[in-house]
């Protein structure tokens, strides 16, 4: 059973309800989930946490930066941004699911939980909001923008 880092989207629930109100039945949970995953991935690619107040992810350790610069980390050429990408397994495991009419976003790769929680050797890099936290406003606005565009094109 994979360890899951999951945002149950209480934080976005109000937004998704607002979206539904605004777009009535033109926008499905599937479309909202798709846009959410795409938007979160895009922000993380630039080294920005999707969690409100977190800002940019903490830099890589000096030893890891030196390894990248020396070409010892396969597939990685730059030390910044911290894009959470090495093999692509973790970022590729970000998905949206619908349960009981609600949209959830989750990572199914267990490495996500290590980053989310951090430990003495790994800095905490928040990938999804947990209880009491919310997505950054940039995410909610980009999702609304994408959905507005999609419904205009129908």
């Amino acid at each position: 059973m994979p360890v899951r880092v999951r945002a149950d989207l209480k934080a976005l629930l109000k937004v998704t309800e607002d979206v539904k109100k605004r777009f009535r039945k033109e926008v499905t949970n599937g479309a909202i989930g798709y846009e959410m995953v795409r938007t979160i991935q895009d922000l993380i690619d630039k080294g920005i946490s999707p969690v409100d107040g977190e800002g940019r992810f903490e830099k890589y350790s000096d030893s890891y930066r030196n390894a990248i610069k020396a070409g010892r980390v396969e597939g990685k050429k730059t030390v910044s941004p911290v894009d959470m990408y090495v093999t692509g397994d973790m970022m590729g495991s970000l998905q949206s699911v619908e349960r009981n009419g609600r949209v959830f976003v989750e990572f199914t790769d267990e490495k996500a939980s290590y980053h989310q929680e951090g430990n003495s050797k790994l800095p905490q890099r928040k990938l999804l909001p947990e209880e009491g936290e919310s997505f950054t406003k940039r995410i909610t606005q980009l999702i609304l923008k994408a959905l507005r565009k999609a419904t205009r094109n129908k």
């Binding site: 630039k46 080294g47 920005i48 940019r56 050429k77 730059t78 911290v82 950054t136 606005q141």
Partner: protein
């Protein structure tokens, strides 16, 4: 650097009702500051100016080789973008670079190294922050208006 800059910041004018309590005004301005910071980072990460909305000139071949990437995302080692921040002081919001070591880099990029002994007029301008006479891109301004609207709606309900 051959010149120095103490800080590079922009005072953000926001249309907020005057009857808001000081605590509410601070809360709202902090929310807006966080939004502008993240949106600037997002746009800069795409190689787009938060002032003009336009994509920047691409990196030169030599610099791309040195950097290990073709992306003009202003992100070589992360120091400058990591120090982008906001402050709310005396009821006003300021966004930009408050650390002089990083402000001088941001100033150099924004002005095309204006005042530099040999890079002035040679280095490309990549506008990171509006000057006093300029504004953030319409996308950022409308995002700010939306945050103010939501804040006031929540306050009334």
């Amino acid at each position: 650097m051959a010149f120095s800059v103490d800080e590079l910041t922009k005072k953000v004018s926001v249309d907020i009702p005057s009857d808001l309590k000081a605590r509410e005004r601070k809360e709202l301005l902090e929310e807006i500051g966080e939004y502008i910071k993240i949106t600037m980072l997002d746009m800069i990460g795409d190689g787009r100016s938060p002032v003009t909305g336009q994509e920047w000139r691409q990196l030169s071949k030599d610099y791309s080789k040195f950097k290990g990437s073709k992306e003009a995302n202003m992100d070589l080692n992360g120091d400058m973008l990591d120090s982008l921040d906001y402050e709310v002081s005396k009821g006003e919001l300021y966004v930009g670079w408050f650390d002089s070591d990083q402000a001088v880099k941001a100033y150099g990029h924004t002005t095309g190294m204006k005042g530099h002994p040999f890079l002035d007029g040679v280095a490309p301008k990549r506008k990171l922050l509006p000057t006093d006479k300029e504004k953030f891109t319409a996308e950022i301004r409308s995002g700010v208006e939306e945050i103010v609207r939501e804040f006031l709606d929540a306050r009334e309900s």
